[in-house]
């Protein structure tokens, strides 16, 4: 969090720089089947974020030493394409990407019924094609859609949204400027059917009241995003 308090990002009427109110989400669209050679895939556009996710498997886990006798292994790769950011993102090892891959995997392992596929592997690849703010949320949400598109059994989809604080006001779904100059960020991974959580991070500075507000914004937003996800999976294209 940058914490530059002098940048005005929300006016006295609660209107944000991009015209949204505090609880509003950026525009979201989802399309499945965008990687024809994959077993499941999806493209999710969220504001000017764009993520493409492909899922391969269940397939033979290779090499053999990674196999688990009682369940499948889930491998998750999160990566930002070199042209996804304003300054070019240099390809190669990146600590941030490693951490996001890990927490995304931890979240997805909580919902995928891995025990149905002993000794096999399910590979989830998240590529951020265009980054604005909140790419980890877009990546996790899109990954759960791609897994569903691949027909892999799960207890629920995962909706990931973040709320934060700008100019001392709690708002939902930070955009790029709000993320750069804001004072806090609370991304959560929510199971929309039960309201349970599989992913939680936070950084910045929130009072107990502000934290509660951010939490509630995320919960409300999750049900709205869930509707879009369901539509992409079952509606529209006749699937």
């Amino acid at each position: 969090m940058g914490g530059y308090g002098d940048v005005i990002m929300i006016d006295e009427n609660g209107k944000r720089m991009d015209g949204r109110g505090p609880a509003d989400l950026r525009e979201i669209s989802i399309e499945t089947g965008v990687v024809p050679v994959a077993d499941g895939s999806c493209r999710m556009i969220w504001g000017t974020n764009e993520a493409i996710v492909s899922v391969y498997g269940p397939m033979e886990a290779h090499p053999r030493k990674i196999q688990r006798q009682d369940s499948a292994v889930l491998a998750v790769e999160y990566n930002m394409a070199p042209f996804s950011t304003t300054d070019r993102m240099r390809p190669g090892f990146n600590r941030r990407s490693k951490e996001i891959s890990k927490v995304t995997k931890d979240a997805l392992e909580s919902v995928v019924l891995l025990e149905l596929y002993p000794r096999s592997k399910i590979q989830v690849n998240i590529e951020i094609i265009s980054a604005e703010a909140g790419t980890r949320c877009v990546g996790l949400t899109a990954a759960s859609v791609a897994l569903a598109d691949a027909g892999i059994p799960m207890t629920d989809l995962v909706v990931s949204v973040a709320s934060g604080k700008i100019n001392d006001i709690v708002v939902c779904d930070l955009n790029k400027e709000e993320d750069n100059y804001g004072e806090a960020d609370l991304p959560m991974g929510i199971l929309p059917n039960t309201g349970e959580l599989v992913f939680l991070q936070m950084d910045g500075n929130l009072s107990q009241e502000e934290f509660k507000q951010a939490w509630d914004y995320n919960m409300d937003a999750a049900s709205r995003v869930h509707e879009i996800m369901k539509k992409a999976l079952i509606g529209g294209d006749g699937k």
Partner: protein
Amino acid sequence: MSIPLVPKLLRAHLTELAENDKRIDERGQWDSRNLEIQHSVLPRAEGSAKVRIGDTIVYAGVKFQIMTPYEDRPNQGGLMCSAEVRPLAGRKYEPGPPSAESIELGRVVDRGIRESGCIDVDSLCIIPGEKAWQVILDLFAISDDGNLFDAFAIAGIVALKEAIIPAERFEVGEDSKLEVNGTPLMCSYHKVGGRFVYDASFREELGGDERIHITLGDNGNVHSLQKGLKGIFSADEFEEIMGHALERTKEIREIINSL
């Protein structure tokens, strides 16, 4: 990957098809799959393109950096071209450092564009000896169903042709269009079932032998050649594919110029 057995059966099948002048997806020997080209598709890139050939999908994005010119060429900027094929694009790709194949891929496309001279590196100089633009062309595969080479080469030149130098963001003058003089294009041929075919699909690559890549400029001049994988070819075979490449690059160039 768990596919070493399949190619043997596939090879036999492909040979049988070739003997009857057929291909696995019913195309003729020199037919391409459906080609779609889109430009301005990436909001964060200074120039971009998306190319789809059949089920092969790739992106190209152009970014700029400021570099110190090389001492022996104080008036020149630079061009860098890198290709990435990550696990997203197919089950045979593993995470980790780039494989020899994807390095070859990037370098072959790079040579075609660089050697054609379509990017005038002298025009990239900002302050001689101190500052110059480095053009970075990133090629990124979304779905590999064969012939990434041609898809990358088309996406690369289309992205360069619409690139804007972001001088204002770097506070070194006004934004301007990157000068690109020419449209070098690559055509790739794979030996499948004992004969060369154009625009091989993934299955043809898997059960085929050597491949040849030819990059030709606007006037038909040859700018890069590459023979990859194990295999032997004759001068007559080469002459035949060169003839096809001359025609095909003209067709693709017309499509690009009409975008």
